[in-house]
């Protein structure tokens, strides 16, 4: 179903300092474990192929080798512990100024995104997609509206749980521009697998432009078909759950649709944002994502095209 090209989701391809720390630790553990495994197997094969020793062999030799092996094991485990603590320390260290602060709220099954600023009119609300500036630190605050979800952008950071009535914080920085996919990493119900998000790491000017676009209200063109679509939206049950800033729709239960057409995917990364997919979603969302909380909507066929024109105009 997903034919989106150009994004990555990989923990072994770090794009920032946080994921690099984790990647180095993972590499260290991998090679230590490989070495230990090779040694153990080598000794096992040696033990199997060696001739049985004389029954009179003194115990001291055996004892010495057991003590040596135990000491080496404890030494390796301590080394790994120290490496792990150092990584944790590096992840928790914050040495940056002017971070971008983003609050992410998990819902069954989509992500609410809230860019926080000291001035209320600077704030941005969107869904299922975040844009971050390359080279600047980002603070992610994760929380949830219903059950426990988990935020994980493998290319950029470690995992962080989104817990109801509680805010967990993590910081990250993208050093390479790109599109990174994020997946809910804590089983959260029927559509857990369809709860993704794309992270766009962009150069600062492009990010600022995106932010300014998102801050403005809906800027749909004033064509007759689009206006008819807006009327349909405002008279249909849509506005009970969705917000389109600049119209009468101010529901807060579902994703904010003010700039729906600027987003790359629909239904939390389930499918590309195309008019056809959007029409399918509006008319029968339960076939695409069974169990999701969007109720069935009765849109007469003559109303569907104007409604789509309106939604597609929300850039």
């Amino acid at each position: 179903m997903i034919a989106l090209a150009g994004f990555t989701q990989s923990a072994v391809n770090p794009a920032g300092p946080q994921s690099a720390h984790i990647y180095h630790l993972w590499h260290l553990y991998l090679w230590i474990c490989v070495a230990v495994w090779v040694l153990v197997i080598a000794f096992l094969i040696a033990g199997l192929t060696r001739r049985r020793p004389q029954p009179q062999t003194p115990d001291t030799k055996l004892r010495r080798s057991v003590i040596t092996a135990t000491a080496i094991t404890i030494g390796i485990l301590f080394f790994m512990l120290v490496a792990s603590i150092q990584t944790g320390n590096a992840l928790a260290t914050r040495s940056f100024t002017k971070p971008v602060s983003i609050e992410i709220t998990g819902h069954q099954w989509w992500w609410e995104v809230h860019y926080q600023f000291s001035q209320p009119d600077q704030e941005v609300v969107t869904a299922n997609e975040i844009h971050i500036p390359v080279g600047r630190a980002v603070i992610l605050k994760a929380t949830s509206q219903d059950v426990i979800h988990s935020v994980w952008i493998p290319n950029l950071d470690g995992k962080i749980d989104a817990i109801p009535e509680h805010v967990n914080t993590i910081w990250l920085r993208a050093d390479k521009p790109g599109i990174y996919r994020r997946q809910c990493a804590e089983f959260c119900g029927m559509q857990h697998a369809h709860m993704a998000m794309l992270v766009f790491a962009e150069p600062e000017p492009k990010f600022e432009r995106w932010l300014a676009d998102q801050r403005s209200g809906a800027r749909s063109s004033a064509g007759a078909v689009v206006m008819r679509g807006r009327q349909i939206f405002e008279n249909a049950p849509c506005l009970l759950c969705h917000t389109i800033r600049g119209t009468g729709a101010a529901g807060t239960t579902g994703p904010d649709l003010t700039h729906l057409a600027s987003r790359t995917t629909l239904a939390a990364g389930t499918m590309p944002n195309t008019p056809g997919n959007l029409a399918g979603w509006i008319t029968d969302s339960q076939r695409i994502k069974p169990g999701n909380n969007m109720p069935p909507i009765n849109v007469p066929s003559e109303d569907l095209q104007p409604l789509l024109s309106f939604l597609e105009s929300l850039r």
């Binding site: 049950p237 009970l240 339960q286 076939r287 069974p290 169990g291 109720p295 009765n298």
Partner: protein, 178 residues
């Protein structure tokens, strides 16, 4: 003689094995899961006649007593109704059942009847002095979920289906308080 005992043993073993398989199969099939319909009907305008408030009827026909609620006593429906209660802002006027601008829902005094069909009609048609008409906006299955939740607030739903700890206020029966 010895041989026939051997056969008997084998037959008994076979019968026992078959019987245990049958018992297990029966047990497995009798575990009834609460069924959930995912593809429900969209909301329709009009066409609502769940309950009759008046016995007056031209031609003297017997009034319909009320439509049975498909969500009655269904734990999933009640918990889903609880979410919808906030999502559709019922809590804006009724608070968490304690009442505010709208009447409280925790007591069993319902102005327009406390049967599921009555509450359904209240939500769908609206009532004078402030209750809006939700028919055509909220789909029928969600209205029934709301009905189940509203009834659970006053303890009218079976306790087996209601959560042990509600997120909002909840009327306690005398037995629950003791």
């Amino acid at each position: 003689m010895v041989r026939s005992t051997g056969i008997m043993k084998r037959v008994t073993k076979g019968v026992l094995a078959c019987a245990s398989v049958l018992v297990l199969a029966t047990l497995a099939s009798s575990c009834k899961r609460e069924s959930r319909t995912l593809r429900n009907e969209p909301p329709q305008r009009g066409l609502y006649d769940a309950a009759r408030e008046s016995t007056n009827e031209p031609g003297g026909k017997l009034p319909k007593i009320g439509m049975p609620s498909p969500a009655e006593g269904n734990a999933y429906a009640i918990s889903q109704g609880q979410r919808l209660f906030d999502w559709y802002n019922c809590s804006g006027c009724h608070a968490q059942g304690g009442g505010g601008m709208g009447p409280p829902l925790m007591d069993r005094r319902f102005t327009y009847g406390s049967q599921p069909a009555n509450i359904y009609d209240t939500i769908v048609r609206g009532r004078p002095n402030g209750m809006p008409t939700w028919g055509g906006r909220i789909p029928e299955f969600q209205v029934w979920q709301l009905v189940a939740y509203v009834r659970s607030l006053s303890g009218s739903e079976p306790s087996a289906a209601t959560p042990g700890r509600s997120d909002g206020l909840e009327k306690k029966t005398r037995a629950q308080l003791q």
